[in-house]
């Protein structure tokens, strides 16, 4: 009973909360005391040099990686080893990967309706309708019957975004969504993401697209060597970085 009531009431707490999170790969300390709170509707952009733990951090949020210390709450539910809890959280959290990870043996449409029909138990007809609506929004409805291998990288990534949206997630995670794309395809993907942000989607986004970060970001997070070094609003972050490591990083990526 208590659970049902909780689920029905809108959760006024944070969308995602990481408290004193630690993670090790063997002896290697990848995440060191991470504290991060993401409000509903907030757009957080995470950047940092490679190997800084930023991907590992957002992969903890939907349990693709397991944290070993600290607490992680998603939409009020704590992530523990409880499988039911993990599946419940994954339903609400969409993820877009660097390498798209579309299912190559299914058509675009089948990719899109798989989650809704099997996880959310939405009737097939309704799932197809929703899927077409999202394909429309990422501007490739005509590709519905094709296989992922027949699409360009940019189109595949837009399909991947639509696939996540079909699950009607409350939070979207983006793990370097444009890093594997040819330059001319980056814009079409970023456009979709900007649109999504303008609709008020809660987003945590690992990216080096600083233009995008400036346009839509509410909070910039800079990570290095497994720590959050700096966390600021974008104007402050770009114009007046405080930490030396942040300055160095920004000078490197903004120099050309």
């Amino acid at each position: 009973m208590a659970n049902a009531q909780e689920a029905a009431a809108p959760n006024l707490g944070p969308a995602v909360e990481l408290r004193h999170l630690h993670k090790w790969y063997g002896e290697f300390h990848v995440l060191k005391d991470i504290n991060l709170t993401v409000r509903h509707g907030e757009r957080v952009v995470v950047c940092g040099p490679s190997g800084s733990g930023k991907s590992t951090m957002i992969r903890c949020i939907n349990r693709l990686e397991e944290h070993q210390r600290g607490h992680l709450f998603v939409d009020g539910l704590e992530l523990t080893n409880d499988l039911k809890q993990i599946e419940a959280i994954r339903k609400e959290v969409g993820m877009v990967f660097q390498h798209f990870n579309l299912f190559p043996h299914m058509t675009v449409l089948e990719n899109l309706i798989l989650g809704p029909t099997w996880v959310r138990k939405v009737p097939r007809g309704e799932a197809i309708e929703t899927a077409m609506m999202y394909l429309e929004r990422v501007k490739i409805p005509e590709q519905a019957q094709k296989y992922p291998g027949q699409l360009s990288g940019g189109q595949q990534q837009r399909v991947a975004i639509a696939r996540s949206l079909c699950m009607k997630p409350k939070i979207m995670l983006f793990d370097e969504p444009t890093s594997a794309l040819d330059p001319e395809m980056i814009k079409e993907v970023l456009d979709v993401m900007v649109e999504l942000a303008e609709e008020g989607m809660t987003m945590v986004c690992v990216t080096h697209e600083m233009g995008f970060a400036r346009t839509v970001g509410d909070t910039m997070v800079f990570m290095d060597e497994g720590e959050i070094v700096e966390m600021e609003a974008p104007e402050e972050f770009f114009s007046n970085p405080k930490n030396e490591r942040t300055k160095l990083f920004l000078s490197q990526i903004l120099s050309h």
């Binding site: 939907n62 349990r63 693709l64 599946e87 994954r90 339903k91 959290v93 969409g94 993820m95 990967f97 390498h99 990870n101 579309l102 299912f103 190559p104 043996h105 798989l114 989650g115 099997w118 996880v119 094709k146 296989y147 291998g149 027949q150 696939r163 699950m167």
Partner: protein, 368 residues
């Protein structure tokens, strides 16, 4: 030849040495000196052996209902032996006057198998399963009898081609899903399940099929309480299934490992449960990759069924051999083996071709 105008004319087409018969010969048979020697050697072998074989098998051979004496005098193959013994080779010691029963059963069985391979029929879905259920009941009634006025025939009397087909088909059909489970078990995160799977696979793979069959037939009954006995045929069948599953598991595991990690992660991120993601995402891709080695295994398994002779079952190979134990026909064992080999070849060749078609069909549209 060095005339420039002539050269220009030639440019509209590839040089004569690159196309047509000469081009083909150059490309395929005489591309370099080593290949040329091999080609000449092969041609020599064909010229020296093929005419002799044709003469033996077709021209000087004895066909139809002829006596062994005529065969002995002839210089060629004695197909009269096959004519005389074919019913024994096909059906073994099944009562002679009842041979129509295994014949009809085999036709039903083969219809089911080949029918299940036809793509347009796949959309019948569950009706295929219904057809199998009904078909197998009919096969059972025909083979055993004891109802509808059919004389009861004990399965100790089954033999020949039906026996080989049953052992191979059920061996494949049951070993395959068991192999999938073992492969998943071996990659499981749960230590108990993983070690059990590893132990099973390594144990069974480390032992020859003959010894498994032998143990199933000789040692296993020793452990059963007195009064309970499990039929030899069933024991052989179980032995074949358990053996095939261990090999299949390793093939499938290779397929599972070939699937990129991103596929598992995308399925997880979507909230699919373990079994959902295996069924919808991982296995469809993994099994497609493993079609060639898997069919290799099926073909091997089909031929391995001939080992059941060690526990006294009369499969196709054994009935062929028993056929030329007949004192009158003893010299004609070559014909017996050839006939038997031809039957094996038909089935194995079908499996091979079918798998190639299936591979291509499943790949449609998925690649660039």
């Amino acid at each position: 030849m060095t005339d420039t105008t002539e050269k220009h004319e030639d440019w509209s087409r590839p040089p004569a040495t690159e196309v047509g018969i000469i081009g083909w010969l150059r490309k395929n048979l005489f591309s370099n000196w080593f290949n040329s020697i091999l080609s000449l050697l092969a041609i020599y072998l064909i010229i020296t052996t093929v005419p002799g074989m044709v003469e033996w098998a077709l021209i000087n051979s004895v066909w139809g209902d002829k006596s062994p004496e005529i065969c002995r005098e002839a210089k060629g193959a004695c197909w009269a032996f096959i004519y005389e013994k074919h019913r024994f080779i096909f059906f073994g010691v099944y009562p002679y006057e009842q041979h129509w029963r295994p014949l009809v059963a085999m036709i039903i069985f083969l219809t089911l198998i080949f029918g299940s391979c036809v793509k347009p029929l796949w959309k019948l879905g569950w009706w295929i399963a219904v057809a199998w259920a009904v078909g197998l009941v009919m096969v059972g009634i025909l083979m055993w009898g004891g109802v509808f006025g059919l004389k009861y025939v004990d399965q100790n009397q089954w033999g020949g081609l039906p026996l080989t087909l049953f052992l191979a088909t059920f061996g494949t059909v049951f070993a395959f899903p068991l192999g999938i489970l073992l492969a998943l078990g071996r990659r499981s995160r749960m230590p108990a399940i993983r070690s059990l799977s590893v132990a099973y696979i390594e144990l069974i793979r480390g032992v020859p099929l003959i010894s498994i069959l032998f143990m199933a037939s000789v040692m296993f009954p020793l452990f059963l309480p007195a009064g309970i006995s499990i039929d030899t045929l069933l024991r052989a069948q179980v032995g074949i299934i358990l053996f095939g599953a261990a090999y299949g598991a390793e093939i499938i595991r290779a397929g599972l490992q070939a699937i990129p990690r991103g596929q598992y992660e995308a399925a997880d991120a979507m909230g699919l449960s373990y079994w959902q993601s295996m069924r919808k995402i991982i296995l469809p891709q993994a099994l497609r990759i493993t079609i060639p080695p898997m069919v290799n295994g099926f073909i091997g398994g089909f031929k391995d069924t001939s080992l059941v002779v060690i526990i006294g079952l009369f499969d196709l190979l054994m009935t062929s051999r028993v056929a030329f134990q007949d004192i009158n026909w003893r010299p004609f064992f070559v014909e017996g083996y050839l006939f038997c080999a031809a039957i094996y070849f038909c089935f194995c060749f079908f499996m091979s071709r079918y798998s190639q078609w299936l591979e291509k069909d499943l790949a449609k549209g998925q690649n660039h």
